[in-house]
Symmetry: C4
Subunit: 216 residues, 4 copies
């Protein structure tokens, strides 16, 4: 069993490094921004370091923390620091049973959040790709919450708790952060990748349609 | 002869896996969406599984079905499920003698379908790339049918039969599905790839020109 | 000397295949469109085949022709056909001493040609990248001719001869073809690659600026 | 110590070649434009050659110069010429203690500089990505200077000295050059890469938001 757990952790470490290279190519983690975490069993979570070029992270560069983001094991490279998103990652794991959370700095997320225009949400509709989000049909009007940006990432937690309590957002696997990006999650790394691709598609589609019909 | 058929099937399986990686890079099969099929002889068709990351499909992951999409052989990986597009794929193989069909979830297809603006078609014209579609010249006005999206993919069949019966669409190798994407076909995998590239070029060109001249 | 000529031809064949893969990634030769040629000595020119996926062309797939595009040597693969651009390639080699010509089907070329708006030229200005074109400074107003598209590629020759005779276009290494793309040349394959990148940059810059200032 | 210095130089040479391939893919050094330098110790700077395809530069192709850009060692390939940016690179190393400078010809830099609309600066605000610039918070209004283009790159120096003297630009690691591109620097190659990605994100975000709200 220990061997199995060890194997699971190693696969998760390699997959995280691989997905970060993919997300970099997509423009979601440029400029050392963005991040990712992955649960690897009860009370054990792998989190990416902050302030480093995300596409160059090695499997050994991840932090192992518990469910409250308290350090279990640091990477050997002592210059690495735990992501500032750790409190948000823990919140989403706890409140949404997320098995993995992607933090995207994609420009399309920023431009989609602008569409909220003072409201606390953006609604996506009339798109088959909605089916790519767990539990949705293509006829849903899918409300995604938008929170305001704060000076430090940890200060986002209070706003996030509020939208997680709001029933209108029960089915969202995404929280947009104005001027900043998005947190997107799923039951595991692969659902998170799928949700990441689907939500960024929704962001781009909504911006493109809004440009055609500004009043829509 | 059995050996030749076997070789043909293996080449088709490898080519499908390779083309799905290419189509993923182009944004046509993101978020596990989209799909592809390929006929490998009388009454034998390879179809991609649904609900999986399309760029990670292996040659062994494909379903072998007959002309009515009835299962001949499932992949060893028992978690895989046959694509929901199977009825549409069979329809296009039957009605248009398609040797291969691509189902694209590309955003440019969705935005091109929006240009129909209530009509049942989008017309592409004044583009050399029209020559890239079998049988067309660059002076053709090329009408591509647009059908309305449905809750399940199989429910598209009735609308598709109707546009396939409509003589104005006799020369189209594409059916656009509003809010969804496109079905694009050809006599074999390589013509389908060519038609895929040409139609997505037409989609992008039409959207770009429409943005410049909204009233055109 | 024969050995040297042979080596030069082999390098050109490999470089053409490599550049076609690069140009495919840039969207200049999608859907089997576009093409390239390269002079490899007096009265000997390599030309790409037509109607094939350009990014999959092998060094052995090229045609060897003389200065008037008459066949010297066909590729072993007898299904390949000489490019329809051959007469235009020969014209540009003859009239502009081009060592290589790229025929691009890039969408940005089509959209730039639209900016001519009935005139026979598009003028590019106020861009440092103009320096990337042989003989130009960044303060030049660079007039690029636009010809009308024809049913067959060979029919473009008459219009092209006319613009090549027109002194206002003496410094252009590019002819735009309305609704079609561009012919771009240079003294050798590498200058043609550079000119290709520079002209497509000019196309994109002009379209982006025109969208901001439609009346400019 | 000599060995250490030698090793540092070799790593810098390899990293420069690798980053130029990356920057080419991003469209920052197309058409042989753009460039890069890296300090490798007191009074020793590596600079890329001019007029060559930047993504094909080898580690051995760089020039070694002193702090005033006077030649210490030329590459073996005698056809290579020192970048015209050398005086600007030296200025930024001297005045801003830059350990590395990227010169980008990215279209997004040109379009961002257009936003200055006659002023000598563009101000970026309301973006988390501002944190990716050394010393900034996400609530800063970040003024980036814009200088006018000149016939030769060396003639930019006088304008650049002026903006480097201007206290409103003390915190900028970027100078935009109208119709041309940007100079972006950092304490070493990796901070320069990060700043390059962050500033180009700011350029794209500002242009996209300006298109939505032309009067903003």
């Amino acid at each position: 069993m220990a061997a199995t757990l060890y194997g699971r952790e190693q696969i998760a470490r390699k997959t995280i490094a691989e997905l970060l290279r993919l997300f970099y190519e997509k423009g979601w983690v440029a400029g050392t921004g963005g991040g990712i975490c992955c649960s690897i069993g009860k009370d054990r979570v792998l989190m990416a370091p902050t302030g480093v070029h995300k596409e160059r992270i090695n499997p050994a560069d991840l932090f192992l923390v518990d469910a409250r983001a308290r350090l279990i094991q640091s990477p050997r490279n002592r210059s690495l620091r735990l992501t500032e998103c750790s409190a948000i990652f823990s919140l989403l794991i706890h409140r949404r049973q997320a098995g993995s959370v992607l933090h995207s700095h994609g420009l399309s997320a920023v431009l989609a959040a602008d569409l909220a225009a003072g409201k606390n949400r953006v609604t996506f509709r009339d798109l088959e790709m909605l089916k790519g989000i767990q539990g949705l049909s293509n006829s849903d009007r899918h409300a995604v919450p938008v929170v305001q940006n704060t000076a430090r990432e940890g200060q986002l937690v209070a706003q996030m708790e509020k939208v997680l309590d709001d029933p209108q957002f029960d089915r969202s696997f995404c929280i947009l952060v104005k001027d900043h990006g998005a947190y997107i999650w799923g039951k595991d790394l692969w659902e998170t990748k799928r949700h990441g691709e689907v939500y960024h598609f929704l962001f781009e589609a909504a911006s493109a349609r809004s440009a055609r019909n500004p009043g829509r």
